[in-house]
């Protein structure tokens, strides 16, 4: 994508993307006049900006003062208050230790939010609802803060239940002008990281929008803020809003704002950095249509709404054939998703005249988005976009835990959906069977060797089993199940990742992930991958006689839920651990995950030590 690339060091971010000297070297080597820092890494690092400025190179972003002022949560809150921005009640200082944390939390009253002073992007944040939570939260948040930001200062504030996360995009120039570019609704989050964002918000009325926008602009003006920035607010159910923080950089989700306002934010940032005045005034900024961004992550949505997954994308096709779709991604087919970086694959941004249009475009795009080689969160994204509360706009930052109280379980199928999947599976199997008879260079034989055209199959999905008769008639498969016969057009190409055909004349899109000789098929329908077993009726009959294979008793072992690095091990061989007690911590993609004992017992073996790299499902600790 870039015209020129410079190696800035090894994969570990602290040696490359966070290493200011290496970046400065790349800047000098290429003779760059300005640097756009992107979203993460050094984008809000004042030291970096100072170094650039000292070298006479423009930083495409705000001033050092603005970064310093807003980068520190305590400082930013004071500044916001001074600018007349509504703020959340909380403790105005640095927390010394866990006991202090508990004491403050009691003063503010639970629930409280414990967060890294230098933090951002959800890292180093913990919610505490009681004293124990507060103690644990303090420890974990300060550790994460130290490893992510090199600054373990922690603060505590009132936690607002069921809030919406709505943020205002602002642009300011070096001449004292500032405008707001309306809001982005970013309430759908998991572990304080955004999953789906949209603009505008279904919730805000014109008055609130204006009030929020004006407060944001007032903060900018007070700071003398220039470049693009985002003022984040928590909004409660009565449209009362509280200043959360200000991000002094371009945000990941900026494309939704670009779509509805028609303003190219990066273009504006470059102009501002050059010293040009803003040409936009507040009245030039419209809300036109609706845009939704779905963050496609390489992660397993069935585990805690998303635990990182790594691997190589051996097949990757973005749905750019769908109109009004924008894919912002930094990867291609063949790219590797590693443990070193944020596991985001792509920002899928879809636009429409109305919210419904934008949702439908998103669905179409997600259905034909081909990603192979890693586990990804499309199943969850796809499901949220059709979920009633989401469609009604009834969302909050607790959305996921409220809508999926037992965790995400995949798309729930109705009987028609099920029939469609089974019919496609039956056709894929039949097609494979037919192909296995078609050899092009066999010697002529007297034996009859006509490929079959009729199959009696037994298909199982989950634990259900269904008999199914398939007949190939012309260019169609007639699939008979129970009382219904479905006619499936034979547009199935066994090499293509997409299955686009018609069932009873109606178009459907599915994806064929894998197939094997034992009858196991993996088919993606509406985002979720379903594993289906298709066998001839005789193979199925015989399979029932086969004994079940014993499975590993997972209650006696602790498995790594994802690939990562062992941060610490908190038990030794012979220790007696209670159910739910922490046994070790795995760190991946800068998130710490505390693993707990599944049942009470004595530790039999510890297979890892701090610093080890582990893969998904590796056995870490065994119990007797």
């Amino acid at each position: 994508m870039a015209d020129e690339a410079v190696c800035i060091g090894p994969a570990a971010t602290k040696d490359s993307y966070l290493n200011i000297d290496h970046i400065m070297l790349a800047v000098t080597k290429t003779g760059s006049q300005a640097v756009h820092p992107g979203y993460g890494f050094l984008s809000e690092n004042a030291v970096f900006v100072e170094k650039l400025e000292a070298a006479g190179i423009s930083f495409i972003g705000p001033s050092v003062e603005a970064i310093n002022g807003m980068g520190d949560k305590l400082e930013s809150k004071r500044l916001a208050q001074a600018a007349g921005v509504n703020t959340i009640p909380g403790f105005d200082g640095i927390v010394n230790d866990a006991d202090h944390c508990v004491q403050i939390a009691r003063e503010i009253s639970y629930p409280v939010m414990i967060k890294a002073s230098a933090g951002g992007g959800g890292k180093g944040m913990r919610i505490a609802r009681n004293d124990d939570d507060a103690r644990d939260g303090f420890r974990l948040a300060s550790q994460e803060a130290a490893s992510s930001f090199g600054d373990d200062r922690i603060l505590v504030e009132k936690f607002i239940d069921k809030p919406r996360h709505i943020e205002i995009q602002v642009l300011g120039d070096k001449h004292g002008n500032a405008v707001y570019l309306n809001e982005r609704e970013c309430s759908i989050q998991r572990r304080n990281q955004k999953v789906i964002e949209e603009a505008p918000s279904v919730f805000l009325n014109e008055g609130t929008r204006k009030a929020m926008g004006e407060q944001a602009v007032s903060l900018c003006k007070r700071l003398g803020y220039y470049s693009a920035g985002t003022v984040e607010f928590l909004v409660d159910s009565e449209q009362k809003f509280y200043f959360l923080e200000m991000n002094t950089r371009l945000q990941v989700e900026h494309p939704v704002t670009e779509y509805i306002t028609g303003v190219d934010l990066v273009h504006q940032m470059i102009r501002i950095a050059k010293g040009h005045p803003l040409l936009l005034t507040q009245k030039d900024i419209p809300i036109k249509g609706w845009a939704i961004e779905s963050r496609v992550y390489s992660e397993d949505p069935y585990k805690n709404f998303g635990l990182p997954s790594i691997g190589r994308l051996y097949k990757y096709i973005e749905p750019l054939h769908v109109p009004n779709v924008r894919c912002d991604s930094g990867i291609d087919e063949g790219s590797e998703i590693s443990i070193y970086y944020d596991p985001m694959i792509c920002k899928l941004v879809c636009y429409g005249n109305t919210r419904n249009d934008a949702i439908n475009t998103s669905l179409e795009a997600l259905d034909s988005y081909v990603i192979r080689g890693v586990t990804h969160n499309i199943p969850l994204l796809r499901d949220i976009l059709t979920e009633t509360n989401f469609i009604e706009g009834n969302i909050s930052t607790n959305y996921l835990s409220e809508v999926y109280p037992d965790g995400f379980k995949g798309r729930q199928l109705n009987s028609t959906d099920k029939q469609h999947i089974l019919a496609i599976a039956a056709c894929v199997f039949s097609k494979m069977d037919m192909r296995s008879y078609t050899f092009l260079n066999e010697r002529p034989s007297t034996a009859k060797r006509k490929e079959p055209a009729e199959w009696t199959l037994v298909i199982s999905l989950f634990d259900e089993e269904l008999q199914c008769d398939v007949k190939k008639v012309g260019n169609k498969f007639h699939v008979h199940m129970k009382t219904d016969t479905l006619s499936v057009e034979d547009h199935i190409n066994l090499s293509s990742p997409l299955i686009q055909t018609n069932i009873n004349g109606k178009p459907i899109v599915m994806q064929l992930v894998s197939k094997d000789a034992s009858g196991k098929l993996q088919i993606v329908y509406q985002g979720t991958t379903f594993t289906i077993f298709v066998l001839s009726d005789k193979a199925s009959k015989f399979l029932k006689m086969m004994p079940e294979k014993p499975t590993v008793d997972v209650s006696k072992v602790v498995l790594s839920p994802m690939p990562g690095m062992v941060k610490s091990v908190s038990c030794e061989v012979g220790d007696t651990m209670a159910e739910g007690q922490e046994v070790c911590i795995i760190e991946a993609m800068k998130m710490q995950n505390s693993l707990v004992a599944g049942a009470s017992g004595k530790v039999k073996a510890v297979h890892v030590k701090a610093g080890d790299t582990v893969g998904e499902d590796d056995v870490l600790i065994e119990f007797e």
């Binding site: 192909r435 296995s436 090499s495 000789a517 086969m546």
Partner: protein
């Protein structure tokens, strides 16, 4: 008895009516005809009954016992292996000839094996399936004769032989006759070798001398938990060497697919094994006179594979998974790996390119840096020879740092075992394509289907480096005793750490990955 006779008469009458109507037979002759007709009918009935007994093998209770062990019966296995209605059985009514130990009173039509031919995905194959429900599947002389008959027939026709083994061993009551039977089969295994594909699927015990038949076939597959291969069972082991060992440890599927290398692959259960076997046969030609099969292909031969650009790490010391290269190159990522869990530093198996079967050999940098050692050389050599015998083109992916050094290897004969792989590649006259993905060091470079061993087309990827040895080793010899050896090391890397030295000498066809297809090569 009387009622039975009555039934015959009735049927006879119906039949004679039929004869009279069709052949105009007059009434006078009716009586004679009636008596011969009754005889014919009786014989027919006997045949029916014998067949019925043959179909039941060792009887209901033994069939139940077989099922309880998680195994299908010999007939069920054949039923699943063959296309519907295509199995033609041979010698269904033969019986054993032993008259000692009261054996003459225990006879089962067909004895302890089912033989015949059938179609597998429309292609003919000969097969035998040992029936554990009859005398524990033990091998009598007639059992051996039945097997020999299908093997002979398969040689005549030029079609694969598939053995489904489930036998307790020799028929002890028959003594030397049983042993002779084994030898007859062994001889045919040897004579058929390289002429028709021979495949053994071990689906129960296979012990003693019996193991040598599967060992001499081209591929030996096993079923997890229910199949065993050993020369002597745990009891004999205990009495001779005082070792305590279970059947599973001694000769189970896991042992033979990971430790001994006797078996080529293990499957979960009988059904899985038979379905996979059907699939596997699709890769093989029927005989050495047939070309490697070409199946209809949906995967475009000129498909772009950007993934190949990123698999080889930038660090030359970093490991990667050669299997990723393989599955991305073959049609539809469909790769039937042989011996996936044994000598993992070499990958072998079958795939298709543009529909045609190809044999793939590749060093696996992920395991033991992809070096060649005794096990991997033997594993590779046997596979290459199979491909050569059966007209299957060979594609070799090379990333080999050399032969594994050490006393363990030298004392066990890495020289003569390594020579097997060298010999196999040099000897092979099927189309040979070689892709050097990274390292080609030392003698191992020569071995791995190099241009110099009649490689047809040899490619080098931009990451290729062909040299006598790695930079460190080379410079420590070349510049022994000199200060600042690391300076020379850099010079060496500059000189040899790229595909150019070999390219300027005309070793490769082309540098670059875009040429990874095979349709330009004709056999």
């Amino acid at each position: 008895m009387r009622s039975k006779m009555a039934l015959y008469c009735l049927r006879g009458a119906v039949r004679s009516n039929y004869i009279r109507r069709n052949y105009g037979v007059c009434g006078v002759q009716l009586f004679n005809l009636y008596s011969t007709a009754a005889h014919t009918l009786r014989v027919n009935q006997q045949i029916k009954e014998k067949r019925k007994r043959a179909l039941l093998g060792g009887g209901e209770s033994r069939i139940d016992a077989q099922h309880k062990k998680g195994k299908l019966t010999a007939r069920e296995r054949i039923h699943l292996l063959c296309d519907p209605g295509s199995f033609v059985e041979y010698d269904m009514l033969v019986e054993h000839t032993c008259s000692d130990f009261g054996m003459e009173k225990q006879k089962y039509p067909g004895d302890s094996v089912i033989t015949g031919h059938g179609l597998i995905n429309g292609r003919i194959a000969y097969m035998f399936s040992q029936d554990f429900t009859v005398f524990g599947g033990s091998l009598s002389s007639i059992h051996a004769k039945k097997i020999c008959k299908v093997m002979d027939q398969a040689m005549l026709v030029g079609a694969p032989v598939i053995g489904l083994n489930d036998s307790g061993g020799a028929r002890i009551q028959e003594g030397v006759e049983s042993l002779a039977g084994y030898a007859d089969i062994f001889l045919r295994n040897v004579l058929s070798s390289g002429v028709i594909p021979q495949i053994s699927l071990i689906m129960g015990p296979c012990a003693g001398g019996a193991v040598y038949s599967p060992a001499m076939t081209d591929f030996t597959f096993m079923v997890e938990d229910t199949s065993y291969l050993f020369i002597t069972g745990p009891d004999v082991v205990k009495s001779v060497t005082n070792e305590n060992v279970t059947q599973e440890e001694l000769g189970g599927a896991k042992t033979h697919t990971t430790t001994s290398g006797v078996a080529h692959k293990a499957f979960h259960n009988d059904v899985d094994a038979l379905l996979q076997l059907r699939n596997f046969l699709g890769f093989l030609p029927l005989s050495n006179k047939d070309p490697a099969p070409i199946r209809i292909c949906d995967d475009p031969w000129d498909r772009d594979v950007p993934t190949l650009d990123t698999i080889i790490p930038q660090e030359t010391t970093e490991a990667y998974d050669m299997l990723e290269v393989v599955v991305n190159v073959v049609d539809e990522r469909d790769f039937f790996e042989i011996m996936p869990n044994y000598a993992k530093n070499i990958i072998i198996g079958f795939g298709r390119m543009n529909g045609r079967t190809v044999g793939i050999v590749g060093n696996q940098p992920k395991c033991a840096a992809g070096c060649l050692d005794i096990n991997s050389s033997v594993k590779g050599a046997r596979f290459v020879r199979f491909c050569d015998a059966f007209n299957i083109p060979i594609i070799t992916f090379v990333d080999v740092p050399g032969f594994l050094p050490g006393t363990g290897q030298e004392h066990n004969g890495i020289i003569r075992h390594g020579a097997k792989l060298l010999y196999a590649f040099a000897e092979a006259t099927v189309p040979k394509i070689t892709v050097i993905t990274r390292k080609g060091y030392g003698g191992a470079y020569d071995v791995m289907s190099s241009k110099h061993l009649r490689g047809d087309v040899n490619y080098a990827w931009p990451t290729a480096e062909v040299a006598v040895m790695g930079a460190k080793g080379a410079t420590s010899i070349l510049f022994k005793g000199k200060p600042d050896v690391s300076k020379y090391e850099a010079e060496y890397v500059e000189k040899f750490g790229n595909p150019f030295p070999a390219a300027v000498r005309g070793v490769y066809f082309k540098i670059g990955i875009e040429l990874l297809f095979i349709t330009t090569v004709s056999s």
